[in-house]
Amino acid sequence: MGVLAKRKKNRGTNEIPMASTSDVAFLLLVFFIVMPMKQEEIGLSLVLPGKKTKETTVKIKQSHVATIKILANNTVTFDGQPIALHGLQQAIKDRIVSDPKTVVILETHPDADYGMMIACLDEVKLADARKVSLKTTKP
């Protein structure tokens, strides 16, 4: 008897297995649900004062103003005194406690890093200062 005669004939039907389609669908489903969640936008919000007019300009007493200055070399001063970034939050908090009407002015030099300004704004927000104003040092 030859080898060829012994070979079994494969009589199974040619079907694509469909049992795992729902698994594949669920996998894709999870992907499309998770995908938009990853694109979160996180940041600091602020409202700019708008166009300068006589009506919108508010006069504030100098004593209520706390000025944070960022110099061109990225050093920070608080009311004229140099201050470390991590100490800024407490300094603002203390100032607000002593005078709740405090308006924080964040004055940044045009050559200073934007990141430094955001770091200071972050500290201002963490200190829960409600009235914040941005200013640019005139070169």
Binding site: L28, F32, G43, K51, A112, Y114
Partner: protein
């Protein structure tokens, strides 16, 4: 005498339609998902602790890279054109928020100039995009 037939079949939850449900949900999520269509510019965002989540549907991205190049809607825009562009956008959507996606090493002067343009355009709600804070990183 009437005999009661006892039903011998086991109770089961039909799972054959699971795949159909999965595909239906899949199609829904595929249609509703919004991928970022903007390429923008390559920026390293500054880090902030006080970062809050922004309403993505209202945000208009303004990319500013380290060299001070400004990109709005994937087009490089000179600073003096920002006001006109934004005024148009504010008219279309008065609740629009301008999201600054600015590199942390960008000189603040560029950001300040853009903000002046925004004030002129009446786009006063701004959002400074930040990254999540990591301990040990200065900003």
């Amino acid at each position: 005498m009437a005999f009661k037939k006892t039903i011998k079949s086991e109770p089961f939850i039909p799972t054959s339609s699971m795949g159909d449900i999965a595909f239906l949900l899949l199609i829904f999520f595929m249609v509703t998902v919004v991928f970022t269509e903007e390429t923008g510019l390559v920026v390293t965002l500054p880090r902030a602790e006080a970062g809050e989540e922004g309403v993505r549907d209202l945000l208009t991205n303004v990319y500013i890279n380290e060299k001070g190049m400004i990109s709005i809607d994937d087009q490089i825009v000179p600073v003096d054109r920002v006001a006109a562009l934004m005024a148009q956008k504010v008219q279309e959507n008065p609740f629009m928020i301008v999201a600054f996606k600015t590199d942390k090493h960008t000189p603040y002067g560029v950001v300040s100039d853009v903000m002046e343009q925004l004030k002129e355009a009446g786009a006063v709600k701004v959002f400074f995009n930040t990254d999540l804070d990591l301990p040990g990183v200065p900003y």
